[in-house]
């Protein structure tokens, strides 16, 4: 009984959109109260997926069910128009109606749902008050700051009591300082939201702070799915590894060794067999002018290709040579270490990483 109830609650979707040169095919299941982040590089199809959920881009296949109700199913020729879906959207640049005040923007949805004017305005005023915007209710959008506009957009999306809240890059339009505040605030509002929330972002920090679960999309496909901690610990693609700041290699495992290049096996603490990933943070990499002694068994020659500052450290980009030819590597070093090693692009060095600092898992 209870299982069938949970099965019918929340979002259950397989979004298939064929756009000729680009095909999106992602499966999403989200429970009520859960916040799901769609994370991926530009052009991965995140926003398309969001638009499909909102009904702004028709599916060519798959299905879309919300709380047991089929909103769209091309095979059954069923499709609920955007205005008929219990969906609220916060658009990337908010799209607040410029000719309406903040209050009128928020009251717009309830009015469209047939709520009397006075009641809609009261509801909108309450929402703006909750957002700490009571003083700005009468302001036109162009008079609002980025953070204020973002909150009005959120209030507007929540005003219709949606069962599915969609947020498209909710923090992308903000400057760095506003971003910090708004992120924390948005987190509170999302945590309080009892229905399904899906947000789309290319920023891993936003995704990890705001979402309970991440779905990583690349080229229209889901490449990894899990909690922020799982994804951060065990990235499965270069894109995610870069996002979470890890060196990631894919290879064949046999016991404690994962062969990541024809001439290079990395020793790990885990015991594995078959295809596997090895991940380690740039800070665990040590660079040497000469070949290190045998204590660090994971050592290979590499050439410095670039350097950039990374906090109070320097991140050195390298490309493997010799047995590790072509293997990319990032290493975080102190400026002192960089100076002592006389590192510069083109310099040949040896890289090493301790087995204890690597993490390997099945591919």
């Amino acid at each position: 009984m209870s299982t069938s109830l949970t099965k019918d609650e929340g979002l259950d979707a397989r979004l298939v959109l064929d756009r000729g040169t680009f095909t999106l095919d992602v499966e999403l299941t989200v429970r009520p109260g859960e916040v799901l982040a769609l994370l991926g590089p530009n052009g991965a199809g995140k926003t398309t997926a969001l638009r499909a959920l909102a009904g702004l881009a028709p599916l060519t296949g798959g299905h879309l069910r919300l709380d047991g109700e089929t909103l769209e199913d091309p095979a059954l020729r069923r499709r609920t128009a955007p205005e008929g879906r219990p969906v609220g959207v916060v658009f990337q640049d908010y799209l607040l109606f410029p000719h309406l005040t903040a209050l009128e923007n928020v009251a717009f949805g309830p009015r469209c749902h047939g709520m009397p004017r006075a009641a809609a305005r009261e509801l909108a005023a309450g929402l703006l008050d909750r957002m700490g915007l009571a003083d700005h209710a009468g302001a036109k959008p162009r008079r609002l700051s980025g953070g204020q506009a973002q909150r009005v957009a959120l209030a507007r999306a929540l005003a219709t009591g949606p069962r599915l809240l969609l947020l498209d890059e909710p923090l992308a339009a903000l400057d760095a300082r506003a971003r910090l505040d708004v992120r924390a605030e948005l987190r509170r509002h999302l945590a309080a939201f009892e229905a399904v929330a899906v947000l789309v972002t290319h920023d891993p920090l936003d995704a990890m702070v705001l979402a309970d679960r991440l779905v990583v999309v690349e080229q229209g496909r889901v490449v990894q799915e899990g909690t922020p901690a799982e994804i951060a610990r065990r990235p499965r693609t270069d894109y995610i590894a870069r996002l979470v700041g890890l060196n990631l290699y894919r290879g064949d495992a046999a016991g404690h060794t994962v062969r990541v290049a024809p001439g290079l096996g990395l020793t790990t603490t885990e015991t594995l067999d078959g295809p596997a990933f090895v991940a380690f943070p740039p800070s665990s990499v040590t660079l040497h002018r000469e070949r290190p002694d045998s204590s660090a068994r994971n050592a290979w020659p590499a050439e410095v290709t670039g350097m950039e500052s990374h906090g109070d450290q320097l991140r050195v980009a390298l490309t493997g040579s010799g047995p590790a030819a072509g293997l990319p590597l990032a290493a975080d070093l102190t400026p002192v270490a960089v100076a002592e090693l006389l590192l510069a692009p083109g310099v040949q060095v040896w890289a090493s990483v301790k087995a204890a600092q690597t993490h390997s898992y099945p591919a």
Binding site: A54, G55, L56, A81, L95, F97, F108, C112, H113
Partner: protein, 284 residues
Amino acid sequence: MTDDTTTAAAGFLDAPGNRQRRARTGGRVPVALVLPALIGLAFLLLPLVALLIRAPWRSLPDQLAGAAVWQALRLSLQTATLATAASLLFGVPLAWLLARTEFPGRRLVRALVTLPLVLPPVVGGVALLLALGRNGVVGRWLDTAFGITLPFTTSGVVVAETFVAMPFLVITVEGTLRAADARYEEAAATLGASRFTAFRRVTLPMIAPGVAAGAVLAWARALGEFGATITFAGSFPGRTQTMPLAVYLALQDDPAAAVALSLVLLAVSLAVLAGLRERWTGAL
């Protein structure tokens, strides 16, 4: 973005948004632009100035004393305003259809809409007669079914003026709509607004400056309409003889009277346009 384009469409009305933009650009105004601009301005104003210089100022009071002048003027203003209203009623939805929907032959329809712009108005008048005349394709049916005949009536004048003026409105509004961000309509849809509600409550207010610009163009065109009107509606004082017709007929035997009538038409148009501009700048 939307603001910019709509004010650009409404540019000649000198919307307040434009003034802000002008203030922002500073620096020296290049001669390469100023010179042709001034030549263009002089070219446009010279005939008007000539009209003023050669106007029979002394006999003007006598020329304008006749009731016929004011009768023609009133008729002109009434029909031009009705034609503008009709253009708005049908033209704005048509512009929306052209800008926001995809249907087979949309390009062709768009080209057809602009056809009355290139059609000599007299040809337009003949075409209207063939369509809506007493023996016209549709007119015959209107006559037998409802007893409505349009030629030689004031309604006929409005029909002729609408035919010639509406394309101006459609083109202007369509351009504004294309420049306007369609995603606002999507945002409205996600808030539960039907496409019509989204159009009425979101799109229309946002493109209002463009619609106003189109309406003014249409009104001005309708006010000056001659060829289609005289062909379709004929010329009868007080009923179908608008100012341009009166001017033309006066030109046949009394050029001074024609100049006097033209001056009245000019003065009234100028007053109305200036008045509208005042209203809009006040409202915004």
